[in-house]
């Protein structure tokens, strides 16, 4: 299985800094090609959110470089990935918390990380960034760890109310601002000829999944240039619709 990748981010209309961080890469391992993508949406009062998001990206990058090759020496098991990624997130939570306490600020970041091997995907999620799978349809893999999503799942709120609710940006947890972090994991089989997308909440607030599918479905994304162009198109569409947040999207196309 082969991968084409792209990553695009935009500061958006109103923010002074871009606190999103993202990274996508294709890795050659002893078990064949793999693709890894991670996207963090940082937050923090005094423009420190990018510190948090970057810190998490670097930690995962470090894992890709140092730990993944070791794992590839044997069969990769879901539980090993889960254990190691949980450890990274917990450590990052402590590091960012300590940093915040020192600086007298509260800062934190969401994380959505995805590893695609030849046959399986591994996704970790904390917060409200999302992973999608686009094949013949668009499917959201992750679940938002937000206050409104929980209200919806508890039946206290409908989807429509959640879209408009003033609390839609309140996360249940994030790396760096929660006492403890409990990441969600999603494992599954990789589809050939599919697009895997990671995006921050800014990317999806103003545009509909159908619009995303129209521009990012596997059939229209034939090379990395096209992927990037179409991502930028959607980012600009967001800005036209007055999205105020930073906007980021990472894509992996399988074939």
């Amino acid at each position: 299985m082969n991968f084409i990748i792209s990553a695009n981010t935009d500061i958006g209309l109103t923010k002074d800094t871009n606190q999103d961080s993202l990274s996508v890469k294709v890795i050659n391992t002893s078990q064949g090609r793999m693709a890894f993508a991670i996207l963090c949406d940082g937050m923090g009062g005094l423009a420190k959110g990018e510190v948090a998001s970057a810190s998490v990206i670097k930690a995962f990058d470090n894992w890709i470089c140092n730990e993944l090759p070791k794992l590839c020496q044997g069969p990769i098991e879901d539980s090993i990935i889960r254990k190691q990624w949980e450890k990274i997130v917990t450590e990052q939570n402590e590091i960012i918390k300590t940093y915040g306490a020192k600086q007298g600020v509260k800062l934190g970041t969401t994380v959505v990380a995805m590893l695609l091997t030849q046959n399986r995907y591994y996704i970790l999620n904390v917060g409200d960034s999302r992973a999608y799978e686009l094949t013949t349809e668009i499917k959201q893999i992750t679940q938002d760890q937000t206050f409104v999503a929980r209200e919806v799942s508890l039946g206290n709120m409908t989807e429509e109310e959640a879209m408009k609710d003033s609390r839609r940006s309140v996360l249940l947890q994030c790396v760096g601002a929660s006492d403890s972090v409990y990441p969600d994991f999603f494992f599954g089989d990789v589809q050939g000829n599919a697009v895997y997308m990671l995006c921050c909440d800014g990317f999806r607030h103003e545009i509909m999944p159908e619009e995303i599918y129209e521009k990012l479905q596997p059939n229209v994304l034939m090379d990395d240039y096209q992927m990037s162009q179409n991502s930028i198109y959607l980012i600009e569409l967001n800005k036209q619709r007055k999205e105020r947040d930073n906007i980021s999207v990472a894509l992996i196309r399988t074939f």
Binding site: L46, D165, R167, S169, Y182, D245
Partner: protein
């Protein structure tokens, strides 16, 4: 930034930095002259966007806070407005914040938490009752200092409301907004005193369970699901504090305070105890009713049995003793008395012995009790108490039998015996009562007459009075008798005849012979007109006819 060792306002020497918030730094300072420690909070103006906008509000709010005085609040003693910072001088609170205690020791003992809760509730009540009301909005363990003496103080109080508004345009995390009540996220109504109640409830939850409600599962569960040894009363309080709808929470700190002071009473254990008490009461109540019913049933059955026995005896009774037995079985029913009376007078003669047997009723019947001793049962008084009408009837019938059939030569004897019975019922409203009353009076009268006649000195006037009244009685007796059954009527006439016969001399002193003869003739003609098949009555009527004729004869003789 204030420098360590620098003097603020010429008095407060900054010793060291003790805390840092988003926009402020807290230092420990020493007033060297007074040798007292103070906390100095520096609110940096460059830390706040549009400081000039919030400044007025901040100044106003600090002015309000300066006036506060409560044992669980640090007092603000001074506010200094410098070029780039507000410097707030306040009490230095020794100790650690409760979130440190949580981090170090986990869940806190329930008694401590309740004691803290009362203090915090007191503070909130104090704040809420200021005018205008002050809403704290940021109750959380990190803002509560645990002093070495075990009491708590609410800190982080110098910041203006504007600083506390949650900026929700950006992505935020529950962990950073504290235990925000649902309405604090905006769009769900104003924050008010009940917001603080929510936050206090969440704080108590965290303290008593060690579970941060801002962490998975992000909800405030009943505390006993986490630690079953906790009080269910406290569980109820916390659940009520943290209801989503402010209207479902305690509506004021005072209400919450009351609940906290009585948490044991809404405790399950307490309720169980109360329930036990209630159960005991219900059990005994049910038993009372059940036993009551049983005994009522037993009583009714016994009564039924008694009445069955009674009926059996009456049905077959042919001797005095059997009737006595029936009377003793149930003294309150009249059948046995009347049966006894009928038995004794069935031959139209009541002998002296038979009379004694009736009089025995008045004296009381003897009965063997359970112990084998003989009890005297006053059956008539029992009958009188339970069945007054029956008593009247029995007395009348027995009295009548004495009057009619008592076997004695002396009429006075008859009257006196009958009077003993008539006396018992002569005041009753019935016609029997009226008749009895007259016979009773006649008895009295004849006794009196007899006494007067036997007197050594003849008191003519009194004799005449008695004679007259006796005559009046006879007249009224005759008029009353008209409405009676035939056998009673005959009996009355016989009496009138006998009375006249025996007292002709006396009556002639007060009435003319013609009057006597007229009455006797009336009776005579009445008797002659009697028709009937009852041989006893025919016999009586025949005798009476002869007797009346004799009396008329006597009157005629006396007239001359």
């Amino acid at each position: 930034m204030l420098e360590i060792g620098s003097l603020v306002d010429g008095k407060y020497k900054i010793l060291n930095k003790v805390g840092q918030g988003g926009m402020s730094v807290v230092y420990l300072a020493m007033n060297e002259k007074a040798n007292k420690q103070w906390a100095v909070k520096e609110v940096r103006k460059d830390g706040v966007k549009d400081f000039e906008v919030v400044k007025q509000g901040l100044v106003a709010e600090i002015d309000i806070l300066k006036k506060l005085s409560h044992p669980n609040l640090p007092s603000i003693v001074d506010v200094i407005d410098t070029e780039d910072a507000f410097i707030i001088i306040m009490d230095y609170i020794q100790g650690n914040s409760l979130n440190k205690a949580l981090a170090e020791y986990g869940a806190q003992p329930q008694e401590n938490v309740i004691s803290w809760a009362k203090q915090l509730c007191d503070v909130l009540g104090y704040l809420h009752t200021r005018t205008p009301a002050i809403i704290y909005r940021d109750m959380k363990p990190a803002n509560v200092m645990l002093k070495p003496d075990g009491n708590v103080t609410l800190i982080d109080f110098g910041t203006a409301r504007e600083f506390k508004e949650k900026n929700l345009a950006d992505t935020t995390c529950l962990g950073t907004v504290g235990y925000a009540a649902p309405e604090q996220f905006g769009g769900m109504g104003q924050t008010d005193a009940r917001t603080d109640i929510y936050c206090l409830g969440a704080t108590l939850y965290h303290l008593v369970t060690g579970m941060n409600p801002c962490e998975p599962p992000y909800e405030i569960k009943p505390i006993r699901e986490i630690n079953p040894t906790l009080s269910s009363g406290l569980e109820r309080i916390i659940l009520k504090c943290t209801q989503r709808d402010p209207n479902d929470r305690y509506q004021s700190a005072a209400e919450l305070m009351y609940a906290l002071e009585h948490y044991e009473e809404i405790d399950d254990l307490y309720r169980k105890k109360q329930k036990k008490k209630l159960n005991a009461f219900i059990t005994s109540a049910v038993l009372t009713v059940a036993l009551g019913v049983t005994s009522a049933w037993g009583y009714v059955s016994a009564e039924n049995k008694k009445s069955e026995n009674y009926d059996d005896i009456i049905k077959t009774a042919i001797t005095t003793e059997e009737y006595y037995e029936a009377i003793l079985t149930d003294s309150t029913r009249t059948e046995a008395y009347l049966g006894l009376n009928d038995l004794l007078s069935s031959d139209y003669v009541l002998t002296k012995e038979e009379g004694q047997q009736l009089l025995k009723l008045q004296a009381g019947l003897e009965e063997k009790n359970n112990a084998g001793f003989t009890d005297n049962v006053n059956v008539l008084s029992l009958l009188k108490a339970e069945n007054p009408e029956g008593y009247n009837e029995v007395c009348f019938e027995i009295g009548w039998d004495f009057l009619s059939y008592y076997d004695t030569e002396i009429d006075r004897d008859r009257y006196e015996n009958a009077a003993k019975w008539f006396e018992q019922m002569k005041d009753s409203d019935s016609e029997n009562g009226a008749i009895a009353s007259i016979f009773y009076d006649i008895s009295e009268c004849t006794t009196k007459l007899n006494q007067l006649r036997g007197g050594k000195v003849i008191q003519t006037q009194e004799l005449d009075e008695q004679r007259e009244s006796l005559w009046n009685m006879i007249e009224s007796l005759q008029s009353k008798a008209d409405g009676y059954e035939l056998d009673y009527k005959i009996q009355v006439w016989i009496e009138i005849d006998k009375l006249i016969y025996n007292n002709v001399g006396d009556f002639l002193e007060v009435v003319t012979p013609d009057v006597l003869i007229t009455m006797l003739n009336t009776i005579k003609s009445n008797v002659e007109n009697i028709e009937g098949s009852n041989p006893d009555i025919i016999k009586l009527a025949d005798e009476l006819e002869i007797s009346v004729a004799e009396t008329i004869n006597k009157v005629e003789t006396a007239k001359e």
